[in-house]
């Protein structure tokens, strides 16, 4: 390709777009195109090449001894480490016929010296690299920032008056609509009178209030279709320096008025709206309506680019409010204070964004008759299912007598789990350890957790088995093969679960009461149970994996497909693929750390 084409090809590859024009020219003047057939070995610890590779077409695998660490595809580049440090621990081998650019080593190093952004990308540790990639993702993905439609906002009902109406009558009508905007209808056209217009045209000019509305109204009223993007509406407002526009349907009928403040608050206040609805609900029916709005809230927040960690805590808060309200609406008041309603597992960790199942239980004060709670607990489970919280396949729900008993009975149960563990017991313990009290007397749960910590003191072998679950599933080392039609990865098994379980094991050992994985990681770092770098890497990887999962979930909801944790790597963009690969790398390292920390190799 001619120089111009090379430039456009390269500038599409991160971080080459950071190069200045001169730097790009320098780069292009010092690179060749090379061809390597399958199985050709490009880099080994003994053979460090004199150039940096950028793949035009083909696949390269990076090996550590026999194990594949990474796969590189079109637009990927490698291996900066070999060039910067002059050595490589790993080998690179062509997996599928390779056509690539080769940039001269000296020039590559010179560019790193010359360009700060370029340098940061190659020199930084994984966290910074992930951050750089993510910033770029958000920047390049501006369109998703405001994919909300005009119709997604709450429209203000317009106060419409016919031409010929006296101004004073129109103002009177607008007061009843509690709006400061009067719409004047003239045949098939609309005009507008705003407060500031009244000030200027009536008060300042000393006009009478009996004049007809059309004598001061501004025609035409600018409007936008309800199917247009909110972003377009905002753009129009800014462009025309106006504060409000009409919203019309395809027939040109005026549906309402959209104010600048509505648009801005739409993104910030959607959760507020749901919150208020939950608060105001006085019966289960109203509460159900409120809970149904959660999905659209999630979509809005996701579209806005809010970090998935923040979305889950926000949604978690709303869920807790719904649970609490359900508890209060169903349970007689006198029973409420003698029990503690808890959510467990992913709900307890506040990490379930799109509802996939429910794990909940009831802890009853010692000496209180549990039987009187049973009918209400059945109703509670039924109600939650009706609200769209899918039933738990493992029947870990308050309606199950096993998950509705007294404090002492739970203590006996956990003692059994620890003394005679089976796989199911490890699972139950894991779920139970993530419990979080949502309603009733939370002291009951605190008591139970304290008891659990004490029982596990010095139980190293038990802890090793508990932590071993971290290794249950393989973490993929390669992400996609472009030669195959589809490539599905279970992102939960491969990435999310190992982080959750590993962190959970560490948190259990360190007696940490926090239930969310993110907070547990931060506390573990404070307690020096994990290094700051590992903590940062895990936080980033966890965020990437959850974001990709949420994206896939939302897509499946939209397509009306059954929810699972699979993502098709072919639908990922280049940056997402990179983020995923780096995240899996972090997860793999973390697993090694868990094996070492809990001496799992001793029990294998």
């Amino acid at each position: 390709m001619s120089l111009r084409d090379q430039k456009s090809f390269l500038s599409k590859i991160h971080p080459f777009e950071l190069l200045s024009n001169e730097q790009m020219d320098l780069c292009i003047r010092h690179m060749d195109i090379a061809y390597y057939p399958k199985n050709e070995i490009l880099i080994t610890p003994e053979k460090i090449p004199n150039h940096f590779f950028v793949i035009i077409k083909g696949i390269v695998h990076e090996y550590k001894e026999e194990e594949i660490l990474m796969d590189y595809h079109q637009q990927d580049s490698f291996d900066s480490n070999s060039l910067i440090y002059g050595k490589s621990k790993n080998s690179f081998k062509v997996y599928e016929d390779l056509i690539c650019y080769e940039i001269e080593k000296d020039i590559f190093l010179e560019l790193i010296e010359q360009n700060e952004g370029f340098k940061n990308f190659f020199l930084n540790n994984l966290v910074n690299k992930l951050q750089t990639l993510k910033d770029k993702e958000y920047k390049s993905d501006l369109s998703s920032f405001m994919i909300a439609k005009v119709s997604d906002t709450i429209l203000r009902k317009p106060c419409i008056v016919e031409t010929g109406t006296k101004l004073i009558d129109a103002i009177d009508k607008s007061m009843k609509y509690s709006t400061s905007t009067i719409i004047v209808k003239k045949d098939n056209e609309y005009g507008i009178i705003t407060d500031s217009l009244l000030k200027v045209k009536v008060l300042l000019e000393g006009r009478d209030l009996s004049i007809p509305v059309e004598s001061i109204a501004i025609f035409p009223l600018l409007s936008i279709n309800k199917e247009d993007y909110l972003f377009d509406a905002l753009t129009l407002l800014i462009k025309k320096s106006i504060k409000r526009i009409g919203v019309i349907n395809t027939k040109g009928e005026l549906l309402g008025i959209l104010e600048q403040i509505d648009i801005l608050s739409h993104f910030a206040n959607h959760t507020y709206v749901v919150d208020t609805k939950i608060k105001n609900a006085n019966n289960l029916e109203d509460l159900k309506d409120a809970s149904n709005e959660l999905i659209s809230t999630i979509k809005t927040l996701n579209a806005k680019g809010v970090k998935v960690n923040h979305i889950s805590s926000l949604i978690g808060q709303l869920n807790i409010k719904i649970y609490r309200k359900v508890y209060r609406l169903i349970l007689p008041k006198e029973l409420q204070k003698d029990a503690c309603f808890i959510v467990m597992g992913s709900e307890g960790r506040n990490e379930q964004i799109i509802k996939t199942d429910q794990d909940n239980a009831l802890v009853v004060k010692d000496g209180i008759d549990v039987e009187q709670y049973r009918p209400y607990m059945e109703k509670l489970t039924e109600t939650l299912i009706d609200f769209g919280y899918p039933p738990c396949p493992g029947n870990i729900m308050v309606s199950n007598p096993f998950w509705c008993k007294t404090v002492q009975d739970y203590k006996n149960e956990t003692a059994k789990w620890i003394e005679a563990p089976a796989m199911q017991n490890y699972m139950d313990l894991a779920i139970f350890f993530d419990s979080f009290s949502v309603a009733g007397d939370k002291e009951l749960l605190i008591n139970l957790k304290e008891d659990l910590f004490n029982k596990l003191h010095d139980k190293d072998v038990f802890m090793a088995y508990f932590a071993k679950a971290t290794l249950t599933f393989d973490t993929p080392s390669t992400v996609a093969n472009f030669m195959t039609k589809t490539y599905y990865l279970d992102i939960k098994k491969g990435g999310i679960f190992p982080i959750v379980q590993g962190i959970r094991s560490l948190a259990l050992r360190e007696r940490i009461r926090e239930t969310t994985t993110v907070k547990r990681i931060k506390i573990l770092e404070q307690k020096k149970a994990i290094e700051p770098q590992m903590a940062n890497e895990l936080l980033e990887a966890f965020d990437v994996l959850n974001t990709l999962r949420l994206k896939a979930h939302l897509q499946k909801l939209q397509d009306g497909k059954k929810l699972n944790n699979e993502i098709d790597t072919h639908t990922l963009g280049k940056i997402e693929r990179d983020l995923l690969k780096d995240s899996f790398k972090i997860v793999s390292n973390f697993k090694k750390f868990i094996i070492y920390t809990f001496r799992i190799d001793k029990i294998l």
């Binding site: 001619s2 090379q6 090809f9 061809y35």
Partner: protein, 210 residues
């Protein structure tokens, strides 16, 4: 042997001794790949508009020393041919005199074997110019990529049709389409075809002998 003899005969016609290097034994594992855009398809009548060329060394296309020259035509380009090669008069503003272009090209290719797609045509039209300027046609060894492709293509019988269209070969060999078609881009894409094929079949004959 025979080839050497012909080349020696040719060499005698050389008008300018500065170009004797064209007849020397080439370095091993070096090639030059070229492509010309012309005003038409008749080497006798038509003229060169642009030449793109790259040097291939072992498994690499040396992008840092490419050749991409536009040549001043002796008459106006007709609108029919503009549609084909997409070179408009305005593109020829930086064009050089044919003689300068050909001398630059000869310096660039040296004695390396010339690789191309239907290269016979390009050689013929370039030779028209070299004959005029230095007395000889291009003496370089020629390598036809469509011919190598033909040989590597598994066929069920001697008579099976093999599609030798450039785009088909590109697709079959999974060579990425890089940028628009111009002389240099085509030379690079042809080089990629050559690199992918060169170790799979002997690369020393011209497929069509017309």
């Amino acid at each position: 042997m025979f080839k050497k003899l012909i080349n020696n005969l040719k060499k005698r016609n050389l008008k300018d001794n500065n170009f004797e290097y064209l007849f020397e034994e080439p370095a091993k594992d070096e090639y030059v790949c070229l492509d010309c855009e012309t005003t038409g398809l008749n080497p006798k009548k038509d003229e060169i508009l642009s030449i793109g060329a790259v040097i291939i060394k072992k498994n690499k296309i040396l992008m840092r020393q490419t050749l991409n020259i536009f040549v001043k035509p002796s008459r106006n380009i007709n609108s029919e041919s503009i549609k084909i090669h997409q070179i408009r008069p305005v593109d020829l503003q930086n064009a050089v005199e044919p003689k300068d272009a050909i001398f630059e090209l000869l310096k660039f290719i040296g004695n390396r074997p010339i690789v191309g797609y239907y290269i016979k045509f390009d050689i013929a039209i370039i030779s028209k110019y070299t004959k005029e300027y230095i007395g000889v046609s291009l003496p370089n060894h020629q390598i036809e990529v469509s011919s190598i492709y033909f040989k590597t293509k598994k066929r069920s019988s001697e008579y099976e049709f093999v599609d030798l269209k450039f785009d088909t070969i590109m697709k079959e060999l999974e060579i990425p389409e890089l940028g628009k078609h111009d002389a240099l881009n085509d030379a690079i894409m042809t080089s990629m075809i050559f690199l992918k094929l060169k170790d799979k079949a002997p690369a020393n004959s011209t497929f069509y002998t017309g």
